[in-house]
Amino acid sequence: MSIKRRHFVLNSLLALSGLILVTPIVTLLDRFRRHLPTTKRSKELTLPAVDGVHLLDNFILVKNGDQVRLFSRACTHLGCQLELDDKLNLLCPCHGSKFNHQGEVERGPAIRSLTEFRISFSAENSNQLVVGDAI
């Protein structure tokens, strides 16, 4: 019995030492993670000349006359960068999600619509877009 009790005490202490080590490690990592640099997005974009859908850096810009909408280029499934095919479909090269020009899912696996950003026009140059927050 005494041996069993000794085992129990020793094992508990072992578990405790593990917990004391692991918990701060996890919190430490988590704290540092929040300060890691994230992918930089360009904050100013040049408005393309003609109507249609345009891939600009990390963004998808859809222009229809005066109407301009700006979406994130990251697929909402697992984050791959979307591309345009020759029929102007927005396709994910990794798992085949397809989005329409309103940012809505046309074909899975993605479920959520693309993130859309607020935009404003630069005061000096009406062709310069300033990217705002996600809507």
Partner: protein, 861 residues
């Protein structure tokens, strides 16, 4: 812990027994491969640059065949290690070793497989290219589905940016853990000699014959490493990625728990696991072979582009001094082309090879200094539209324009395709589509006809030979308009690709059919034989290889003033604006009134121009033209970038190439305050001096199915007047010419024994007049009599129009009647109610009875 019970020997164990009796066990081979992985990995430490991994691999590919060797050795030994590890694991399971080891030891064995997988995927990410980056994005995306720890695991295992974390794990943490586990598991540090030799020479063969190159990813398709292809396929199907994470974790959990299970359950689990493996391999094979762009089903066709093995030839590396890091970085990649072709001159500044390299346009293998290797996959003529998406239209260059051109009328010839199909009585959908193109013709009679007669006159038709664009040229994608050869072409001179689009560029195609180019320059095609043309006569011109004879006529006023085609025609109307149109008039945007203004000019400032317009002006003028206000089109408000209101308030047009300044005059007094009845006249109905007209032709298929055309007379005369009813219901008088007065015979027949008159008796008869833009502008309008007393202007054709003593008009045609009862060159007949009824609902019609009488009332001949 269960007792050491012997598993019943299965056919699988017998198979392994047989292997082991001759060759070293899979475990020993795996150990040998691990040693090989470590050695080749150590060899890569120095050439691999953690801060710029992709670039360091490119430098290896260019300069170091040893580097290519060790990279390939590292790749193949690792790949074989993973394979042998799986086989070794199956052997273990089949022999029931799981039940013999202590659970903690077994746990480490299972973890070892995971560590090897982790080493593989980190190696894949460490390539540092966009493919590797996407793999990291996906793995981090998968980890993000895990609650609480997910985000932390992302930063701990793969890192978010940079390669420090991953490199540390790949070269140290995971390798050390794997070494400890392997040594503990195998109880040996070195493989047997036999095991080593088998592992070494198998890897060596693969390394020598299938060395890996630096992979260039296709934008629309990314495939992970082969062992993760099955997961990628599953992720395509699973709406929630967590399901896939659980599905991947499940076999691992089962494996770990195997020794703790009841014997029956354990056996069942093992059979399931071993069965899952081939299913997973099938899934991976499906993903590898059957998935194309956008992960769509596209069997095999994309495999050619999905190349990661360079072939034995890539071992030939440059003999350049390797210490001299001389291969330039162009658009983010090393480009060896320049090392040989640095003397090339002749390009415009934006296409300077020092800026965009050679491969941006000509593709090929940039990571080699050996001619034959570097020229693999080279595109000699990159402007053709079938390849332009990867050359001129590549990301960051003219992608948007290439996209527009491929949809435009000039790109596809869609207008001709649709009109021709309608003529042949084939079905044409109401809305135009991308498939209606001269390069995507089917096998119908209409399409065969076009294939033989018209297919070359559109931009999708490829340019197949080097050389300047001349009057024989057709097609050629971007080159058709933008290729310019310099007269002093030496060995190192490259033709330039510029925005200097001269009339000669348009001439090859536009000297045919409507013959706009020739009319503009004042040349009318005749039926004279080349031998009949007086040699060196200024009144005759021989055009093209077929030596068509043209006769001098009145040239367009704008041509006489030194203007060229592109001085009026804009970039968006020629290259398209991204919309699918089915008719030229829909795509055209300029009109006479845009420059010859009646009232105030609609104009915009420099800052209101589109980015593309400003870019073109900056290329031409090298400065911002803020002092100008640019005129805009009435149709869609797009800027005419060379027509502007100068600071002096004068309205001017500047030649895009000539830089010659022209004063833009307002329409004459009689145009501005038109007399009664003249308000509906379009500018060109009055200001055109002549238009080429072809009277009566016949198109017939011969016995072999070839289409043969017979034409009637060619005529240069002032245009006929037609009435166009616009979409807004407004009536306008426009110039009109015979589009086709022809018999179309779709039956094959022996042409040798027939003559044209006989042929005209069968087949379908068509009489169509079309609105034309003659491009033979004259300053002074047509005379009163040229409209009011002309049977041609009225649409009656040539002949004598006379007034009887009773004041009644009669017409004697010059040509005999055709099958529809009208003379060969007529559109309508005089005062004929039947004709009024026939044309009543058409958007373009001849003058009706009332209008004919009204016109003739003012004939004062």
């Amino acid at each position: 812990m269960r007792s050491n019970t012997q598993e019943p020997s299965s056919s699988l164990t017998k198979l392994f027994d047989r292997w082991n009796s001759v060759l070293p066990s899979w475990g020993v081979i795996a150990l040998a491969l691990f040693v090989l992985v470590v050695i080749s990995g150590i060899a890569l430490i120095i050439p691999y640059d953690l801060n710029n991994p992709d670039d360091s691999l490119q430098l290896i590919a260019i300069f170091s065949f040893e580097g290519i060797f060790f990279r390939s050795l590292h790749y193949w030994s690792a790949t074989l290690l993973l394979l042998t590890t799986f086989i070794h694991s199956i052997e273990h399971l089949s022999r029931g070793h799981d039940s013999r080891l202590s659970w903690a030891t077994w746990l480490r064995v299972v973890l070892l497989i995971l560590v090897i997988l982790f080493l593989m995927i980190t190696g894949y990410i460490l390539k540092g290219d966009s493919e590797g980056e996407l793999a990291r994005t996906i793995l981090n995306g998968l980890l993000a589905t895990l609650p609480w720890l997910g985000r932390t695991l992302q930063s701990l295992l793969f890192g978010i940016e940079g390669y420090q974390t991953i490199y540390l794990h790949h070269a140290a943490t995971a390798t050390i853990i794997a070494t400890i586990f392997i040594v503990e598991h195998g109880r040996r540090l070195w493989p047997s000699t036999k095991g080593w030799l088998i592992a070494f020479f198998t890897t060596l063969l693969l390394t020598l014959f299938l060395p890996i190159s630096v992979f260039v990813r296709q934008p629309l398709l990314v495939k992970g490493p082969w062992y993760f292809l099955g997961v990628q396929e599953l992720l395509h199907w699973a709406r929630n990625p967590l399901v896939v994470v659980i599905a991947m974790a499940l076999p691992v959990i089962i494996l770990i728990w195997l020794p703790k299970m009841e014997k029956g359950v354990a056996r069942w689990c093992k059979i399931s696991l071993v069965t899952l493996l081939p299913i997973y391999l099938l899934l991976s094979g499906f993903a590898l072979f059957m998935r194309g762009d956008g992960w769509q089903l596209n069997s095999f066709t994309h495999l050619k582009r999905y190349q990661m093995f360079g072939g034995i030839s890539i071992y030939q590396t440059g003999k350049t001094d390797r210490s001299n890091n001389s291969v330039p970085v162009i658009r983010g990649r090393r480009e060896g082309c320049i090392n040989c072709h640095h003397k090339v001159t002749g390009m415009v500044p934006a296409h300077n090879p020092k800026v965009i390299g050679c491969a941006s346009c000509h593709l090929g293998n940039t990571l080699s200094l050996v001619k034959d290797v570097a020229h693999q996959g080279l595109v000699l003529i990159p402007g053709n539209l079938d390849i332009a998406g990867s050359t001129c239209g590549t990301t960051g260059c003219h992608g948007e324009i290439v996209n527009r051109v491929t949809k435009s009328l000039m790109g596809t010839g869609r207008g001709i395709v649709r009109a021709n199909r309608k003529l042949f009585g084939e079905q044409v959908k109401e809305h135009p589509s991308l498939n209606e193109s001269l390069s995507k013709l089917g096998s119908s009679n209409a399409d065969n006809h076009l294939r033989q007669m018209c297919q070359r006159c559109h931009l999708e038709y490829p340019k197949n030979e080097l050389g300047a664009i001349d009057e024989n040229s057709r097609g050629g994608g971007c080159l058709a308009c933008h290729l310019n050869y310099s007269p002093s072409l030496n060995k190192n001179a490259h033709p330039s690709l510029s925005i200097k689009v001269s009339n000669n560029h348009c001439f090859g195609c536009h000297s045919r059919s409507g013959r706009i180019s020739t009319s503009f320059e004042g040349w009318h095609e005749s039926k004279l034989e080349p031998t009949e043309a007086i040699s060196k006569s200024i009144n005759h011109r021989l055009v093209g290889k077929s030596k068509r004879v043209f006769i001098k006529k009145h040239a367009d006023l704008h041509h006489q003033a030194g203007m060229s085609c592109i001085d009026c025609h804009t970039a968006t109307e020629t290259m398209g604006d991204g919309n699918l149109y089915s008719h030229q008039r829909e795509q055209l945007e300029v009109a006479c009134q845009d420059c010859h203004l009646k009232g105030r000019a609609n104009s915009i400032s420099w800052s209101e121009l589109t980015a593309e317009d400003r870019k073109i002006l900056l290329i031409r003028y090298k400065r911002e033209l803020t002092e100008r206000r640019f005129l805009t089109t009435k149709k869609n408000g797009r800027a005419l970038i060379n027509a502007f209101v100068a600071p002096s308030r004068e309205i001017r047009l500047e030649g895009k190439i000539s830089r010659k300044l022209h004063l833009l005059k307002a329409p004459g007094g009689s145009c501005q305050n038109s007399q009664t009845g003249h308000a509906a006249l379009s500018c060109s109905s009055c200001h055109s001096s002549w238009v080429p007209q072809c009277i009566s032709c016949h198109t017939q298929q011969d016995k072999e199915g070839r289409w043969v055309e017979y034409s009637g007379d060619f005529l240069a005369a002032p245009p006929t007047l037609g009435v166009k009813i616009g979409n807004d219901g407004l009536r306008q008088i426009v110039p009109v010419a015979p589009g086709m007065i022809m018999t179309l015979n779709q039956n094959r027949r022996d042409l040798g024994r027939s003559n044209i008159d006989n042929l005209s008796q069968d087949g379908s008869f068509h009489r169509r007049f079309v609105q034309v833009s003659p491009h033979t502008t004259i300053k002074k309008g047509r005379s009163c009599t040229s409209c009011h007393c002309s049977p041609l202007a009225l649409g009656l054709g040539q002949g004598v129009l006379s007034k009887g003593s009773e004041g009644e008009w009669s017409f004697t045609p010059e040509y005999g009647t055709l099958r529809d009862g009208l003379p060969a060159d007529s559109w309508t007949s005089l005062f004929d109610k039947k004709m009024d009824d026939l044309y009543m609902k058409m958007p373009l019609r001849p003058l009706n009875q009332v209008e004919q009488r009204r016109v003739l009332r003012y004939c004062t001949k």
